[in-house]
């Protein structure tokens, strides 16, 4: 049992570190949000299930926290990205295509 716990929390820790590194390395706020959101969500799931393996009586509450995080973390990043786009934060120069600008222009008219 303890082996499973160790493997799970170390994997979770690795994803946390990768998420932080992605936050640091990516060129603009949109790509940063990608790295941050995905890595931390899986990292949180893994560490929490790891903690639940050692204490099975906590599992219901831990699953509730995991559900909450999986439901809200993407919503938070989406809202943040949308408001960044609406505030005209510049995307990185490597951005290839932009179909969203046309939609907002149409909305303004």
């Amino acid at each position: 049992m303890n082996i499973v716990y160790y493997i799970l929390i170390i994997l979770g820790g690795i994803f946390y570190a990768v998420g932080g590194l992605g936050l640091l390395r990516m060129p603009d706020v949109y790509t940063r949000a990608q790295a941050g959101t995905k890595a931390t969500t899986l990292g949180t799931m893994l560490t929490m299930i790891g903690a639940g393996v050692v204490h099975p009586e906590w599992l219901p509450k831990i699953i509730l926290i995991i559900l909450f995080i999986v439901l809200t973390n993407p919503v938070g990043s989406s809202t943040l990205i949308r408001s960044a786009y609406r505030s005209r934060v510049e995307a990185s120069g490597r951005t290839a295509i932009d179909e969203l600008g046309a939609y907002y222009d149409r909305e303004v008219e």
Binding site: L21, L24, S83
Partner: protein
């Protein structure tokens, strides 16, 4: 025991990267993004600490912390939308 130390080291690494982005971030959105990420990491950390200290109280703290982190992100995002 060793695994816990490795886990805390990795989490500290992630937190340090996020804090660097928090201070560097060219736009306010970068800062809120790294705040959001720090909050999620702390939520996971709280659950692991609950396991290590063997106290279920920390689970409630983690739950409330997750709710507050979500609200914080949403409020900041809506507040900054369309400024400038």
């Amino acid at each position: 025991m060793m695994a816990n130390v490795v886990f805390f080291a990795l989490v500290a690494l992630g937190l340090v990267f996020a804090v660097i982005r928090l201070f560097k971030g060219p736009t306010p959105f970068d800062r809120v993004l790294s705040m959001d990420m720090i909050n999620i990491i702390i939520t996971g950390l709280l659950v692991v600490i609950a396991g290590i200290l063997d106290s279920a109280l920390y689970l409630d703290i983690a739950l409330v912390f997750a709710v507050l982190a979500f609200l914080e992100t949403i409020v900041f995002a809506r507040y900054m939308e369309g400024r400038r």
